[in-house]
């Protein structure tokens, strides 16, 4: 276990240094001689080799690793080493950790089985967390090297970040329109009524067949022209929308067309037997849809609709091109306006990108929670996820007296034959 962590640290350190190297040498105000950069690179490679050796090859690789670590640290803190003390400290910190772990876990060196065994004991989540920490570490190093104006970013963060409110308002407003349209559209696509079928067919065809940006401009710029050419003042006033309103309507119409297909597929995924059972009870079409078909379809509909919502949240940036005023501007528009004004484009766009990312991360998290809750009645006991991790206890929400998995229940079969829908419980996937 300790050996393993030390090996990871060495490998990470070497890899980080190698990524770091070109950035360092390309920074204009960095005047380290070529020979020193070469030494730095060689040490990075040595670190990676030492880490690799620890895993498999040699019994005494532990001592190689110690020597490499100490040499690296010595070079870093020497006056030929890195420019700033902060960076040298990080390097030395790594070395201290490495040596500590190496000494603690010496016995596993060069024993692949022992390494594999100790690796198996480290939970997947912990490993994943370490990977993410590593990625963010590199990212932070990168950002610290490209000469960002942190003061400016601090001063202007709140005004750009406030755009998240309008981004969210656009996305939420549009998704409400989209879901309503999608439900109507899907019922139309499944209808035998030629009028309903035709209209919904036209709707999905047009809005999936033209670019979103064109639709936005059509609604914002071109729609008022209808009022003007008809010479109706009242109609003109109705049709002359604000950029914000046009954005909501345009996004809603566009995504409604895509989500129509999701809804249609979701409704069709509910077995025919369900509709027949509802019919046999004497339900009307509306009752059957509301009580039997749609609740079951929702489970199938939620993951892809959530993905579309997240995709749409990012497409709200297109509304910026309609020229929204700053007070109502979304993240991207604000980043553009403020960044251009102060010539801090990179800084402002990094803030905007970070905010978009944070928003989508939050919604992805809630979507996962929701999907889990929706699987009540579909998952029997312990469920296995796509990554092979075990997820325990997928109990139906709520009702007391539900049978606990694992408790002896002689008359419960263990196969899933009786279920009407296969036990699909992790359909989220990644958002576009």
């Amino acid at each position: 276990m300790f050996q393993l962590v030390a090996a990871w640290l060495l490998l990470t350190q070497g890899a980080l240094a190698l990524i770091f190297l070109p950035i360092l040498s390309l920074t204009p105000d960095f005047d380290v001689p070529v020979g020193d950069i070469g030494t730095f690179g060689a040490l990075a490679v040595a670190c990676m080799i030492a880490g690799g050796l620890l895993y498999t090859k040699l019994r005494w690789s532990v001592w190689i690793a110690v020597i490499v670590s100490l040499a690296t640290a010595g070079w870093l803190v020497s006056d030929k080493g890195l420019t700033s003390w902060a960076e040298a400290y990080i390097g030395v910190g790594f070395v201290v950790l490495e040596v500590a772990f190496l000494l603690l876990g010496r016995h596993a060196a060069g024993k692949p089985e022992a390494m594999a065994l100790s690796s198996a004991h480290v939970p997947f989540r912990l490993k994943l967390t370490l990977v993410w920490i590593g990625i963010f570490f590199v990212l932070a190093l990168f950002l610290s090297q490209i000469g960002l104006d942190w003061r400016w970013m601090g001063d202007n963060f709140s005004i750009i970040a406030k755009g998240a409110i309008y981004t969210l308002a656009l996305a939420v407003g549009a998704i409400v329109i989209a879901v309503v349209l999608a439900l109507l559209g899907a019922l139309g696509r499944l209808s035998k009524n030629p009028v309903a079928f035709g209209i919904s067919g036209f709707y999905t065809s047009f809005f999936r067949g033209t670019p979103l940006i064109v639709q936005l401009f059509l609604i914002y710029v071109a729609l008022p022209q209808i009022g003007a050419s008809l010479g109706s003042r009242a109609l003109l006033n109705v049709l002359a929308l604000s950029a914000f309103q046009a954005g909501i309507i345009g996004l809603g119409l566009n995504y409604g067309a895509y989500i129509t297909e999701i809804f249609r597929a979701g409704i069709q995924s509910v077995g025919h037997g369900q509709a027949e059972a509802a019919d046999a009870l004497g339900m009307s079409y509306a009752q059957r849809m509301r009580r039997v078909v749609l609740p079951q379809a929702t489970r199938v509909i939620i993951p892809p609709t959530g993905n579309d919502f997240i995709a749409m949240m990012k497409d709200t940036a297109l509304v910026a091109f309609l020229g929204v005023v700053l007070e109502q501007a979304d993240l991207f528009r604000r980043a553009q306006l403020i960044g251009n004004q102060d010539l801090k484009r990179l800084e402002s766009l990094i803030i905007a990108a970070g905010m978009y990312w944070a928003l989508t991360a939050i919604f992805t998290f809630f979507q996962m929670k929701l999907e889990r809750r929706m699987s009540a009645g579909y998952v029997r006991g312990e469920a296995q996820t796509a990554t092979g991790r075990k997820r325990t206890q997928f109990l139906p929400a709520g009702p007391p007296g539900a049978v606990q998995p694992g408790v002896a229940e002689p008359d419960i079969e263990l196969d899933l034959r009786g279920g009407n829908v296969p036990g699909h419980e992790h359909g989220g996937g990644t958002p576009r």
Binding site: A280, G282, A376, G377, P396
Partner: protein, 255 residues
């Protein structure tokens, strides 16, 4: 709906059903009296399931007349007015499917309550009380708050029977209720069906291959062959004294 004993609950007159070129039912005439248990059997494709499905209009009859509890409907094209009539007719005919078709998103008790609450507009607490009574009758009261996926096939089918009974139908239509079950689970479903017939005197039409059940419970049996009722009679007549070679061959194959 109260009908005097002996009066027909189900009447089928001159029923034809075609799927394109294929003629599945070719002129069926039959009546089922109140309290009667009719077992329908025959080879697969002989039209027995289609008959049941035509009776509650899950399939539209091509020609002919169906009458259930006094609601009389012609076959042929489905019109707007007829749709509501069909819905009313279905209130009198409970259906049990081969694949159970329980609602997987609802707990057992909610499955049973769904019809009375949604269709008949009964208050929930009242529907729950009768629902629990019915579940008790099929021996599953303790599973009331469990989701169907946690039940065995036999248990699911018993819930499906309770769900159909909750609508207080005049006739129960069983479409191969035990065909999807493992052999050891068939018995529990047949026991429930038997007690329906014997204790509650429910009018029943049962499409099944369970000949033991038929002999014990059926008042009348019908042998379907190529879309017609080839032979009809008491279990005794059909099992022991049939003179029809088709019936004989079929019974020898199943028994």
């Amino acid at each position: 709906m109260t009908l005097p004993n002996g009066e027909a609950v189900v009447k089928v007159e001159n029923l034809y059903k075609r799927f394109g070129e294929l003629e599945v039912l070719r002129g069926i005439n039959m009546e089922v009296d109140k309290g009667e248990v009719v077992v329908i059997f025959g080879r697969s494709g002989s039209g027995k399931s289609t008959l049941l499905r035509c009776i509650n209009f899950l399939e539209d009859p091509t020609e002919g007349t169906i009458e259930v509890s006094g609601i009389r409907l012609e076959g042929g094209h489905r019109t707007r007015g007829k749709r509501e009539q069909i819905r009313l007719l279905r209130l009198h005919a409970g259906m049990v499917f081969q694949q159970f078709n329980l609602f997987p998103h609802l707990t057992v008790i909610n499955n049973v309550m769904e019809g009375p609450v949604t269709v008949k507009g009964l208050p929930k607490d009242q529907a729950r009380v009768t629902g629990l009574e019915l579940l008790d009758k099929v021996g599953l009261a303790e599973k009331a708050d469990v989701y169907p996926i946690r039940l065995s096939g036999g248990q699911q089918q018993r819930v499906a029977i309770a769900r159909a009974l909750a609508m207080e139908p005049d006739v129960m239509l069983f479409d191969e209720p035990t065909s999807a079950l493992d052999p050891e689970l068939i018995g529990e479903v047949l026991t429930v069906m038997k007690s329906l017939a014997m204790d509650l005197h429910m009018t029943m039409m049962v499409v099944t291959h369970e000949m033991g059940f038929a002999r014990e419970v059926a008042n009348r049996m019908m042998f379907f062959h190529e879309g017609v009722i080839l032979e009809e009679g008491t279990p005794d007549e059909l099992f022991d004294h049939t003179r029809n070679p088709e019936t004989k061959r079929f019974l020898e194959a199943v028994l």
